[in-house]
């Protein structure tokens, strides 16, 4: 028994040492790039939630493929602009959550991603007599829908960026910068019909709902084409980037946008930490005064609990984000950690009053308290899992962070109560360090 306790103690101490080592030095570095990953609400920045219109995707790929293609493209775009630690993830089946820490100006964030990023062509408008229409400035008017053609399956299909194989920059005959592009086979099939239909007419090229140029179709072309205009080299470069990475396959609608002020976040963190400190001191004081020696042991194991929790957040900072609701969940789980200890100590007290020896009372106390701790915490786990599962659909980062942290916290609280507190108490009892029942809160 003692040997087992001893090895458990060594195990706890090694684990604790490792946890402590991972979070020391306890200073600003802990919040640095490789430290705790702070949520947007603590760091400040912009959050955008997009909904993809999957009905517009090409039918040859699945919804998942279309979504991951869109996510990859957003990622590429965000990376090109050098945002530190962006987070782009899928929420549910057709939503994408984008968090851009440090981007204060939400308009910039939205421009950065591009709202639709679709490439398409529009045909010139003609009146009944077959004459082209012009606006008051004398510019040709184009139909406000993408040009369509019959695809290989015999259906009418819009020719859009989803058929684009690649685009690259090049120089024309007079060294003028231009953009060349290549269609895939389906795109080429459609493009051939459209150019044939519009031979010697103007065809407008739209990217992101803006006319890029409206050249006259000189010949029937199928698998490749070029966009010319009075472009500068920079404009051509931008256009190529837009076509390659910005031409998103499916249109995106921005459905939720938030920008969070970091100063407000920092203030909240500072205040919440102070609050937690005050609460903790009250709590520890209460535990010690009411439960005496076991209370003191519980204080120690709660301290260990805190270090473990921080260490988990530090070690898994790639996946775990610390948010304000997360801090609240940590506090709630602390309450549950205390609860587990209280459940046990009340049992130990009862057993002592019933006249058992100290050792037997401690053992019986833990065994009797276990079903209550287990059943009550499993119900909390169930709530957490459902919250996490449905969390993606509302307030995204808030709810999920809360559920995940509460789950980890409650699991950890069971570990500290059952393993840490028990081992410490067993060692104290077995080594006959303190034998007076009064020290365990029982009047003799």
């Amino acid at each position: 028994m003692t040997r087992k306790n001893f090895s458990l103690l060594i195990f706890i101490l090694v684990l604790f040492g490792f946890a402590l080592w991972s979070i020391v030095p306890f200073n600003a570095k802990l919040l640095g790039p490789n430290g705790l990953r702070l949520g947007l609400d603590l760091k400040g920045g912009s959050q955008l939630l997009y909904e993809a219109d999957l009905s517009k995707k090409s039918s040859s790929i699945t919804d998942e493929e279309a979504m991951s293609a869109v996510i990859r493209k957003i990622q590429r775009r965000v990376n090109e602009y050098g945002v530190a630690e962006p987070m782009i993830q899928k929420e549910g089946t057709d939503r994408i959550l984008v968090q851009l820490p440090g981007i204060k100006d939400i308009s910039r964030a939205i421009n950065l991603i591009g709202e639709t990023g679709m490439l398409y062509f529009a045909e010139q408008k003609f009146d009944e007599t077959g004459k082209p229409e012009f606006d008051e400035d004398g510019n040709p008017v184009f139909k406000d829908e993408p040009a369509k053609a019959i695809n290989k399956d015999g259906n009418k299909e819009e020719l859009t960026g989803k058929y684009l194989k690649r685009a690259w920059q090049d120089l024309g005959a007079y060294n003028e910068p231009l953009v060349r592009f290549e269609w895939d086979s389906e795109g080429a099939y459609l493009f051939e019909q459209i150019t044939e239909r519009n031979l010697h007419k103007q065809l407008a090229i739209f990217v992101d709902e803006k006319v890029i140029s409206a050249p006259v179709v000189q010949a029937v072309i199928s698998d490749s084409g070029q966009i010319t205009g009075s472009f500068t080299l920079d404009e051509v470069e931008d256009l190529v980037t837009q076509l390659n990475s910005g031409a998103l396959d499916v249109p995106l609608a921005l459905i939720d946008q938030r920008d969070v002020d970091a100063t407000l976040g920092a203030d909240s963190v500072r205040k919440s930490i102070l609050a937690v400190e005050i609460g903790l001191i009250l709590l520890l004081l209460f535990m010690f005064l009411y439960y005496r020696l076991p209370g003191l042991v519980a204080c120690v194991s709660l301290g260990i609990y805190g270090v473990f929790l921080l260490a988990i957040f530090k070690l898994f900072h790639a996946n775990l984000t610390l948010t304000l609701p997360g801090i609240a969940a940590a506090i709630l789980s602390l309450g549950m950690a205390v609860d587990a200890n209280i459940l046990i100590f009340e049992r130990v007290k009862e057993e002592l009053r019933a006249g058992r020896t100290l050792g037997a009372a401690v053992e019986a106390g833990f065994n009797r308290a276990w079903p209550a701790i287990w059943d009550s915490n499993v119900t909390t786990f169930i709530a957490c899992i459902i919250l996490f599962w449905l969390g993606g659909t509302f307030g995204a980062f808030m709810v999920r962070g809360f559920a995940l942290t509460l789950f980890i916290g409650v699991a950890l609280s069971m570990f500290t109560a059952i393993v840490v507190t028990r081992t410490f108490l067993r060692i104290i009892v077995n080594t006959r360090l303190v034998t007076n029942p009064a020290a365990y809160g029982v009047k003799t």
């Binding site: 946008q257 500072r270 205040k271 506090i331 499993v378």
Partner: protein
């Protein structure tokens, strides 16, 4: 020995009254939905030099947003209006600066489309529902060796509904009296209450189960009563320690989590009460088959058969 269970009718009456008030308030005032549930734009505006609330409201109307709700919060204005794009926001704040002749800083810009907002409310509702059903089944399973295990689950869920209704009722009254709005954080808090409430009830039930196995009394009411008394110290101590932290968080924590902590605070109190005075005593009433005469002793109630 204090007889809680014998006085259960009083506890039921108290809870029934509170719940009737809560439901009436929910029906009459509803909850004041934040933009998380309605869609729209919210932001915080700070003017230097300070402007009058009435003046600001007037300017919003002049700039084509008569729907704007302007609230004073500290030195800042919390404004809510229909969904606008960031570009529109810029022209709006610029318009305010010119017409009011005061520099403005806009923070916490938040725009949610109405379609996702409607989803939020529905999802929140189903989250609570699914969680309740899942926990009902878990409790029934955990108490499977007891006679009528689903009864345990059902009583725990009744206590849970009791707590959730009280929290929602109080926030509907607060919404009416103090313009408190519910948002995604409120839902998070409510779900924490769901977890906490059942957690507490299960601890009390666990003791009843143990005492039934021990066979301390042939009378179920006596068994439940002594079980509740035995867990009383634990329940109060746990609630007290959790209260320490939550209260500290409420008093000293940042403003962004204020509503959330308030939900936890109310939920904690309701949860502690219901786990002791509602869930266990309900088991007794059910066991004795007294549903029909629950309120028959009240003069205007139904006469016992």
């Amino acid at each position: 020995m204090i007889d809680f269970v014998g006085k259960r009718k009083w506890f039921f009456l108290l809870s029934a009254l509170v719940i009737i008030i809560a439901i009436t308030s929910l029906a009459a005032f509803k909850l004041r939905p934040g933009i998380d549930f309605t869609g729209g734009t919210s932001m915080t505006l700070r003017f230097t030099p300070q402007v009058e609330q009435e003046q600001l409201r007037q300017e919003f109307t002049n700039l084509g947003h008569p729907e704007t709700i302007v609230q004073m919060s500290g030195g800042d204005f919390l404004v809510r209006l229909k969904e606008i794009s960031p570009q529109e926001r810029e022209s709006l704040t610029e318009g305010l600066e010119t017409s009011l002749g005061s520099e403005v800083i806009a923070r916490d810009y938040n725009a949610i489309s109405a379609s996702i907002a409607a989803n939020t409310a529905r999802n929140a509702g189903s989250a609570v529902m699914i969680a309740a059903v899942a926990m009902l089944f878990y409790i029934a399973w955990a108490f499977r060796r007891m006679p009528k295990p689903f009864r345990w689950g059902a009583c725990a869920i009744i206590a849970l509904v009791h707590d959730v209704l009280i929290v929602m009722g109080i926030f509907s009254i607060l919404g009416r009296m103090a313009n408190v709005e519910v948002n995604a954080m409120f839902i998070t808090g409510l779900l924490a209450v769901v977890g906490y409430s059942v957690n507490n009830t299960v601890v009390a039930f666990d003791r009843i189960r143990e005492n039934m196995v021990k066979g301390i009394s042939s009378d179920f009411a006596v068994t439940v009563n002594s079980s509740l008394l035995e867990t009383l110290a634990r329940s109060l101590n746990t609630s007290l320690t959790t209260l320490c932290v939550i209260l500290a968080l409420f008093l000293f924590g940042g403003s962004t989590i204020h509503l959330f902590v308030a939900v936890l605070l109310v939920g904690l109190l309701a949860g502690t009460y219901s786990s002791l005075f509602i869930a266990g005593p309900l088991m007794v009433t059910w066991e004795k088959g007294e549903w029909g005469q629950l309120f028959s002793w009240i003069p205007f109630g139904k006469k016992p058969v």
